[in-house]
Symmetry: none
DNA sequence: CATGAATGAGTATTCATTCAT
DNA sequence: AATGAATGAATACTCATTCAT
């Protein structure tokens, strides 16, 4: 193998990105434990040893990806808010669509931020990292909550606890998306689109007849 | 260490249960890959070699637990249906509560049946097992769907696709429960009870003002 | 499994025979290391633990079989001598045929006495056993040697060292038979019969033209 | 223990040789199953894990040694042919001596190529390897057969099937050599030299008086 | 006598991580 | 900075053998 050398700072940054890109795909495909450092470096055309020039250990790259994922999500949510129509319901739709497109267009990141740590125990032992992620998540949730709050004020929405609703919505949507990740959409015969549509319909109108 | 011996058939069954109990806890705590056969047997006061008297391999015990989990869930759901009030909404509540108590009282089973396979590869390579689990899941979903169908007929619920709604509900509730598993309920400051309550409220009445 | 009980002495002997029979087949089929005690006992419809009522350990059964093999061979050789025609060449033929039929009719014993210990190191550490086997082998070789001696006296054979010739013959025939065991007869396209025929022809007449 | 590092390519090749050398001795001494990867690496002053930098698995090193063995044999046979006297009998002698010196000077290789797979299962599961070895063996046999053919044409040898004779000879000599491997030469009181001499005498002249 | 149950000691193989160059 | 080489610590699984009943 040719010796690769990252002379300039940006070249170094580039290598780091390559490694993250490789790890992102592999983690999403095979899980954390089933992805070896060697696999990651091979995909990034580097030697296994080089990995440790860029990351302290295997968990570090996972953490970095996790952060990136939340960055992307936050961006998407903020953008959605700016470009959406005026009514609160419109805005809620826009935010839901943003989250959904986080799932669709950045599936690997969705996988890593929302799913990968489930069924593992070693990821969140670094409490500063946890704190950091929680703060970031709250920012995103706050965006949703404020839309709900606004909707209530404008009398478009029922009187509900905005943050509680935001959190619940988050969980609900995640759950439905995870159905597809678990391949449960396949055997039930519904597309993820149909299920998300159904979710929005239910959430907005309820199932009960008035 | 004293040598333990399971003399009677029922004692043998007991040991098997001990192993499953140990594995259940460990899998839920640390994940599949992070749980070693040694850990399981140590917890069950047996030698690693003894494990293989009771299960063919590590994955076999996981499969057994998975099946047990679904058994429990199915029971709970059927019971809920029989003991609930007459209206469809009551029945839906009862089913939701049943699922919720599956989560509460059998958290480790919930963990294993709903979460553990996420972020891993190896579980679903046995396609007969997958088929079996899918069938079992459909049975549970069908219970929910039929209640919805009945509700529509009785004019208690809006005209919605019963199975699609059931699947969506499943995902939604799972998602909210997973929030707690991910410890996300903690930092948002809501109890899981509150979130599930919020979910039921939203699902029944919708958020939109009429 | 039903509990088997060997009450009478002969029943005990029967069980021992069953075990040897099972081991014989398995050793010949799979080799010593690849045959487990469990396989042997399963084939003999006994529990693994019962094995140790009849043999001290796994090697012991191999040793017993080895002895049995030589018994059979010795018998065959002695019989051959008694039933053969009068000339020394006839007798030599008869003895060769006897050895050959040891291979054909008792292939598993041939395998065990002549081949199995090759490529292993643990069999002959019991020096009394080795001595015993050597003595038995010498008896067989002596049978051949005395026929050769007689042939020389009767002027039917060239003047050759009888015992040296007997030993050489033994090795030569073994070697050709082993060719078939190694499946080398297959790819060369010759049957073992043809090769043994060729061997006898060469040995009697030589290849050199006179 | 000092950490050993193979820096240059040739040093790496050297380490591989060390491993093969260690494995060669051990396989010949103890057999395949009784030789552990740890034994091999210890003898080569490496860690067990390092083994897998050089060979994919335990069987791979056996296969490599097998190939090496046939290389050596083929070389010896070809050389013998080139340096021997003109008569076919001389050539046959030279070839026999070559095979004999393969046994004497490369006993461990002889052991591995001719004996080790006897009494085992697992070696021949790789059919491409088997085919390859058979082809190589046929090449060697063809060398012998062509000398015999020439001898018949030159009227130095009786009319015999050249290839059949070659195969038979191969088996015969192997058999006698194996006698020594089995230590059977010791108790019979003959040296392997004497037996091989006897074999050649018998094969050339026959035992029958004319 | 027979066995079900149990295990200690192995055994090939993997992998995150280190380090001399 | 980059890497080839090396390894310690795991880890699932096997098997001859033991022993209480």
């Amino acid at each position: 193998m040719e010796k690769q050398r990252a002379r300039t700072g940006s070249e170094k940054e580039y290598r780091k990105e390559q490694l993250k890109k490789a790890a992102l795909t592999l983690f999403a495909q095979k899980g954390f434990k089933n992805t070896t450092v060697e696999m990651i470096t091979k995909k990034a055309h580097l030697s296994p040893a080089a990995f440790y020039l860029y990351f302290n250990n295997k968990i570090a790259i996972y953490r970095a990806l996790n952060k990136d994922g939340i960055d992307i999500l936050e961006d998407l949510m903020k953008q959605a808010l700016h470009t959406s129509g005026g009514s609160s319901v419109d805005k809620l739709y826009a935010l839901a669509r943003a989250y959904y497109s986080f799932y669709r267009e950045h599936t690997d990141y969705f996988y890593i931020t929302e799913i990968l740590h489930l069924g593992n125990d070693e990821f969140f032992y670094d409490s500063t990292m946890v704190k950091e992620l929680e703060k970031r998540t709250l920012v995103v949730l706050q965006i949703v909550a404020s839309v709900i709050e606004e909707g209530i004020e404008k009398n478009e929405l029922r009187k509900i606890d905005p943050m509680k609703t935001a959190v619940t919505l988050w969980g609900m949507i995640d759950g439905v998306l995870i159905l597809e990740v678990k391949k449960s959409t396949l055997f039930t015969g519904f597309t993820i689109d149909a299920l998300i549509g159904q979710l929005m319909d239910m959430v907005l109108l309820g199932v009960k007849k008035k």
